[in-house]
């Protein structure tokens, strides 16, 4: 009798639970496992998805900086480990290359979702991802330092060089400029930004042949080298985290920084007195007399794995739709990113990214072989900055390293 009673109680408990879960996200069962990058906005989205967990629905997240290394193996195999990958316009490409994510059109038709058409990211006519935020690197400056130096906020990288000289001459700061020039991904990304600003195209007319060893590439490297003269001499080891720490310590007057990292710069927590109040999230810089901003536009969105059961895919879809529902918006969440979600009101933290979109910056290319070029740049460029090689030699090394990798991957 006792046992029967217990069973009945458990059954009732399970049912009431699943009813609750049903009410929240309409998920009836299945498994949801999310892989993604780690910064505040993505953590908010991850937590939003986890809120749908209930009986019969297991929701786990793995938000890590190593997501790029994990996503392809994690979505491969007969049954993929991860059912959702939160990607950006660069990291969706390897998943598309291997056919690891599924078109979402069926799920959208069946379940709908509280997002607008602009958020649908389509490739070859299929909706492959739902975007939720935009991101870009842009200028951040200290208005007090520029006022003390008696200079206007810079509009171009040439202005940055001139401003840096004045700030140094007036002895206001030792290293007035900052950017994530650490060997590897960071310095390659800064090259990409500057190269696009110079009007460069990474590949020769729609082929996989690289196109960086030219005057624009050399001009790009020379401009970057001049900038490094105004940067902390350790620049080849400094990533975004270290640059932001330098900024908060009040050691930098101008920097190129991600919009998604703006919130902590403005809230004043951990900053030296007077730094946060004078921090202005500005706009993208141009270079070499060009009109295209020397930066790239990025989006972050979620995708659903191809190699999972339809039940898991539906559960994943519903959990993610819940995670980016306009109702997640509040004062704190709004400062975390430039959300592409309805009901988001721009905050001071988003000014730079909006200015970048308005200025007509190019999106980071969604091309299968782009990441190979990015890696080759990251490996070979440091030789130029540590003074071992000329710009021409470095760029020819970049192309040689890229071609070797591209041959191995079957792109050339």
């Amino acid at each position: 009798m006792n046992r029967v009673l217990k069973a009945a109680l458990i059954a009732a408990g399970v049912m009431s639970h699943s009813v609750a879960a049903y009410a929240a996200c309409d998920i009836t069962g299945g498994r949801v496992n999310i892989i993604g990058n780690e910064f505040p906005a993505i953590q908010t989205v991850g937590a939003g998805a986890e809120a749908c967990a209930g009986d019969g629905v297991e929701i786990t997240t793995n938000l890590t900086k190593e997501h790029k290394d994990l996503q392809v193996p994690g979505l491969s195999g007969e049954t993929a480990e991860y059912t959702v990958a939160i990607v950006a316009n660069s990291s969706i490409v390897p998943l598309m290359n291997e056919g690891l994510i599924r078109p979402l059109d069926d799920l959208i038709a069946k379940h709908g979702g509280n997002f607008n058409d602009k958020q649908k990211i389509s490739i070859n006519g299929n909706t492959m991802a739902i975007g939720f935020m935009a991101n870009a690197q842009h200028l951040v400056y200290r208005k007090d330092i520029l006022e003390q130096a008696g200079i206007e906020p810079p509009k171009t990288y040439e202005d940055v060089l001139a401003a840096s000289k004045i700030i140094k001459e007036k002895d206001l700061m030792k290293y007035p400029f900052g950017a994530a020039y650490a060997a590897g991904w960071g310095i390659a990304q800064e090259f990409n930004n500057m190269f696009l600003g110079m009007g460069g195209e990474f590949f020769k007319d729609d082929t996989a042949m690289p196109n960086v060893n030219n005057e624009m590439g050399i001009a790009t490297l020379n401009m970057m080298k001049e900038l490094t003269e105004h940067m902390n001499p350790d620049f080849l080891t400094l990533n975004n985290n270290e640059i932001n720490a330098e900024w908060k310590a009040g050691n930098v007057a101008m920097m190129q920084m991600w919009g998604s990292r703006a919130g902590p710069l403005l809230d004043g927590e951990g900053s030296a007195p007077g730094v946060a109040d004078n921090t202005v999230l500005a706009y993208p810089l141009t270079v070499g007399g060009g009109t295209i901003p020397a930066t790239t536009l990025w989006w972050d969105g979620w995708t659903i794995a191809a190699n999972i059961s339809d039940e898991d895919a539906e559960a994943s879809y519903l959990a993610m739709v819940n995670a980016i529902d306009p109702s997640i918006m509040n004062d704190e969440v709004a400062t975390q990113a430039v959300w592409m979600i309805d009901g988001y009101e721009p905050t001071p933290a988003s000014a730079g990214v909006f200015a970048t979109i308005e200025a007509g910056a190019k999106p980071y290319p969604m091309i299968p072989y782009e990441s190979l070029l990015h890696t080759a740049l990251g490996d070979e460029l440091p030789d130029f900055f540590s003074g071992k090689e000329s710009a021409e030699k470095t760029l020819s090394d970049v192309e040689a390293a890229y071609e070797t990798a591209a041959k191995e991957k079957g792109f050339l």
């Binding site: 392809v72 649908k120 001499p233 080849l236 592409m340 091309i367 070797t404």
Partner: protein, 325 residues
């Protein structure tokens, strides 16, 4: 043996002989927040079909071994023909990723291994002569560098040698050069990595030697004292001969350990100035596009390197054993 050594080796050797399929491109239109754009995309279906036919990829024989990322036969030949002096030839070789990694790895191995053996021996001698009560405490503190996770250890040092860190700024004052940066110069980065290597591994040598010292034959030592041997002579003629077999053991283990140097390069963000065989394998495997064949090829070359490196020690061990039988 079969599962953990033989099979992985077979798998990397096989992988190193193949490259990916030729990718089939289709031109597609991609649309996002920022507008629509035409771009090439891999035709996943067509590529999957190719993969089904030949799951391993395209067989290319040894060409992975001789491409620019590895032995770079063409580049070396060109450099040999076109360079005037040995210095220029060395620069051309150093510019190639695998050779750069080999040069650093070997320098690191052959500088760090002897230094840590000497340092470990000195610590062991010093600790052994301490008062019984102090020994436990001193041993514990001497072991700390080995207990600290390598990545954490290197990060701590990384911040200390920052140009705004305690060691970095002290050096700037010491050398009266406000722009001195350990992280910006290749030779200084190398020295820093090697100092870290010695700091991290010396406790291992110390523990082994200290254990060896406990088995020191006291009567030999006493008779040496009666014969009037000084402290130095006792160390030279009694202690060192007693510890020589342990030196071989420590050298063997540390050669293998240092040959796969990896953590400090990551911890010190030193990729701009130094790369090791392990770190280039890691770079190949990381990121968005994994270069499996390239990583396998480097792994096979590393295995060959380990065999060459250890062959003198292994030969010696084998000979000793032979003699005993």
């Amino acid at each position: 043996m079969l599962l953990f050594i033989f099979l992985p080796i077979i798998s990397v050797v096989t992988q190193s002989l193949y490259i990916d399929h030729e990718q089939v491109f289709v031109e597609v239109e991609n649309c996002d927040f920022f507008g629509c754009k035409k771009a090439n995309m891999v035709d996943a279906e067509a590529t999957a079909h190719l993969k089904e036919e030949q799951p391993l990829g395209r067989f290319v024989g040894l060409s992975n071994y001789f491409n620019r990322s590895h032995l770079a036969s063409t580049e070396i030949a060109v450099a040999w023909r076109n360079t005037e002096s040995f210095g220029d030839f060395y620069d051309a070789v150093y510019n190639l990723p695998l050779y750069r990694a080999i040069i650093f790895t070997l320098t690191y191995t052959f500088v760090v291994t002897p230094l840590l053996i000497v340092l470990g021996f000195l610590i062991a001698i010093a600790v052994n002569s301490l008062h019984q009560r102090l020994k436990g405490l001193v041993i514990f503190f001497s072991l700390l560098p080995m207990i600290v996770t390598p990545l954490v250890g290197s990060l701590i040092l990384f911040w200390m040698i920052d140009s705004r860190g305690i060691l970095g700024s002290s050096l700037q004052v010491l050398f009266n050069d406000p722009d001195l940066s350990l992280k910006a110069s290749t030779p200084l980065t190398w020295i820093m990595l090697m100092v870290y290597g010695v700091w991290h591994s010396a406790p291992f040598a110390f523990v082994i030697f200290y254990a060896g010292l406990q088995t020191l034959p006291q009567d030999t030592l006493e008779s040496a004292m009666i014969d009037g041997a000084s402290r130095w002579e006792r160390i030279r003629y009694v202690v060192i001969p007693h510890l020589v077999p342990l030196v071989t053991f420590v050298a063997l283990i540390q050669l293998m350990d240092n040959f796969r140097v990896f953590e400090p390069i990551v911890g010190f963000n030193a990729a701009a100035h130094a790369s090791s065989l392990s770190s280039i394998i890691y770079t190949d495997l990381g990121g968005e596009s994994r270069l499996l064949s390239s990583a396998s090829t480097t792994s096979v070359l590393t295995i060959i390197g380990v065999i060459i490196l250890l062959s003198p020690v292994l030969y010696r061990t084998w000979r000793d054993w032979e003699r005993k039988v």
